[in-house]
Amino acid sequence: MQMYFPSPTLPPKRYWRDSDWFDAHDAELAEQYPNQWVAVFSGKVISHSTSLGQVLDELEPQDVEFPVIGFVEKGIHVYKNLSAFQNEI
């Protein structure tokens, strides 16, 4: 997998098909790979792990351009992100 590009690069149409596939199958993916990072290429899961680093390591030697990589949430996750220092402007 080509990991880096000289400038931000538009992915091919296949990437967007895979992205739509990823979203359409999110519920099934959440059952199979709960709270894991998942990589999809041409409508297939090609790597999954709780560690994104492991997914990227597995993808690097493979001949896949622009896989879709995302985190599959199972259940309802609420990310609050409140730092300890809050004041109102």
Binding site: Y4, F5, P6, P8, T9, L10, P11, V78, N81, A84
Partner: protein
């Protein structure tokens, strides 16, 4: 001349509640983003556009190799993420939104860099949503951000 980047809604039902006959949709507003690194720009990552999030959050593996400038030497405690409280460094990074037909201009933003990989990329307000027009029209399944 503006740049419009389409966003996508991801909708599913909460599986556990569905077993009890309760239909609760889990809806996420999704974007594709890439990051600048010393080796070049990364391929795209799926990211959640989180309007309840003040500052963008990046998991460790995403920020490990990217250009970053730590803005404060001490880590900050973030509450309510992970299993309660997690530590993160505030840094300046460079990212871009990836659309089907267009790319956003590179954005230099402040972001919290997490120490683990348990969370997705969460796009927050500071330096990102503060600088764009965000349109979210779920009934029409239409969403985009517009840069002017």
């Amino acid at each position: 001349m503006s740049t419009k980047i389409s966003l996508r809604f991801k909708t599913k039902y909460d599986g556990e509640l569905l077993k009890h006959g309760l239909q609760v949709r889990v809806i996420r507003l999704m974007a594709s983003v890439c990051f600048n690194t010393p080796m070049g720009w990364t391929a795209s990552f799926k990211a959640i556009v989180d309007t309840g999030n003040p500052v963008t959050i990046l998991p460790e593996i995403v920020h490990r190799h990217i250009h970053r400038r730590i803005l404060h030497p001490d880590p900050v405690s973030l509450f309510g993420v992970g299993r309660g409280e997690v530590l993160a460094h505030l840094a300046e990074i460079e990212m871009a939104f990836v659309g089907k037909r267009q790319l956003s201009p590179p954005l230099r933003i402040k972001a919290y860099l997490l120490t683990d990989n348990s969370l997705p990329v969460l796009i927050g307000y500071e330096d990102v949503l503060t600088d764009v027009t965000l349109v979210s029209a779920y009934p029409r399944r239409k969403a985009y951000i517009e840069f002017r």
